[in-house]
Amino acid sequence: MPIVIENLSYTYSPNTVFAHDALKNVHMTIDDGEFVGIIGHTGSGKSTLVLHLNGLIKLTSGKILVNDIDLSKKYDYKKLRSTVGIVFQYPEYQLFDETVEKDIAFGPKNLGLSKEEVAYRVRTAMEMVGLDYEIIKDRSPFELSGGQKRRAALAGVIAMHPKILILDEPTAGLDPKGKENILELVHSIKKASQVTVIMISHNMDEINEHCTRVAVLNQGELVYYLKPSELVERSLELGKMGLDIPTSARIARRLRKKGINIKTGIHKQDELIAEVLKLYKGERA
């Protein structure tokens, strides 16, 4: 059981007029190898939640266990941060060094690894994210294209060999092709290194296509933590929070209302297409 969160609450600027409850009594567990999606509006507490997981926000109330590291006690922050890697929304917040190679080496170096180990990790991380080591390594990270920058930033975190990879809106601002590429990349990294992935997104379609479980946060509370097939059946409640269910689920729901016998729990477009075609062929037969 790699991540256990119990009774987690967090208040920004406590004891002042600006006091603001960002998280209220959140309970959740994330199993090994899961692909968890976190969705919610700006200010729902998504970032506050994940920043707790690698100690970037200090635990003030509640309990968190990450791979048996107890965050409510004193712990080795290097161990925690090499266990939990976070890739932030914009690579521009992270890239700084003269060359891509040096930039990706920043994390592993901070872990105090040997020169050979750092070099090896940089090389494999670059290969994993699809950056050609020989061609890219000596280039300045600032000269890369938008998509390459994201890959370099991702490599910088992967090179620390995290067991848990947190992605904060990894596709924000990318064009459709770029989005697709990044998500494919995440799946291939997950497959290759067996990491647990936690992805923050505000795109319902994207989250439900890719995740094994989805956490819905609303005003600091964990409202739902369900499989996508279960979540899409809560469209009314989600609607009240201003969240929409995926397009495919929405169409399926309305077709059902119109008396068509479509199965529940559809959350991917391919599922809907298959289901409608199945019904169509059954009709004709």
């Binding site: 970037l56 932030f88 917040y93 890239l95 700084f96 994390g107 910088g156 620390m160």
Partner: protein, 296 residues
Amino acid sequence: MRDIALGQYYPANSIIHRMDPRAKIIIALMYMVSIFFINTYTVYVLTFLVLFLLVLLSKVPIKLILKSVKPILFLITFTAVINLFLTPLENKPYVIDVYFRQWTVNNIIFELKWKFIRFGMTWTGVNNALKMALRLTLLVMGPSLLTLTTTPVTLTDGVESLMKPLRIIRFPVHELALIMSITLKFIPNIIEETDKIMMAQRARCADFDSGNIFKKAKALLPVIIPLFVNSLRRAEELAYAMDSRCYRGSKGRTKMKELKFGLKDFMALLLAAGFSFLIFMARYNWFSLNIIYSLV
């Protein structure tokens, strides 16, 4: 922290808030100069009373004004201690003068001797320490009333308008004011960005807190470089946006909020000038008005 762009502005609707910033700036300047010419306790007390009256008028909680003294509390204590104990121990008569009654005492209040070292306190020292403390307190409180009742933007407008005559010598008054105002606008953005960059690097186990000063400075490079690169990009985008919104420098530019120097502002200025005159009068004993002069 993100509220920094407001400075310490306290929003309220008072006669002081509504005053023209130029009047407020000039009055604040006159006030600051005048304070250095106060030399009697009567006038100090009088000045405190006037300031108190202004604070009441401004509807700013008196607590906020008192808070402005906090950062210089150390300075006040330090100068007071220096004045108290490092004034030369001159053994001479000292006249304490309160409302036409006078006592003559020895200047030295107490004295300790140990071999060649003399240590003690004098009435002159007490007097100097007290006056210096009063002066510094007044000096901080007045301008903080200005910033508490005026937004940085209005303040900038005021400064720009007052500096207008400098345009004759080709001093870029408008550009300077615009730079000030844009800087104020971008401070919250840059603070937020610094925060995020630091988090991103901390997530890669960057350590900003240990080691000596050189190590620490070097550890900050992964923050400073992205911040710098991003700021350059911001500046470029801002320039595009300003061009697109028909910006051509100060040429032919007008203002939505024109500063209006009204009768009230003029009256306030006149009153302030009158008060400064009073201070000078007391100091140099013009017209031989002993009443104000009588206290010490």
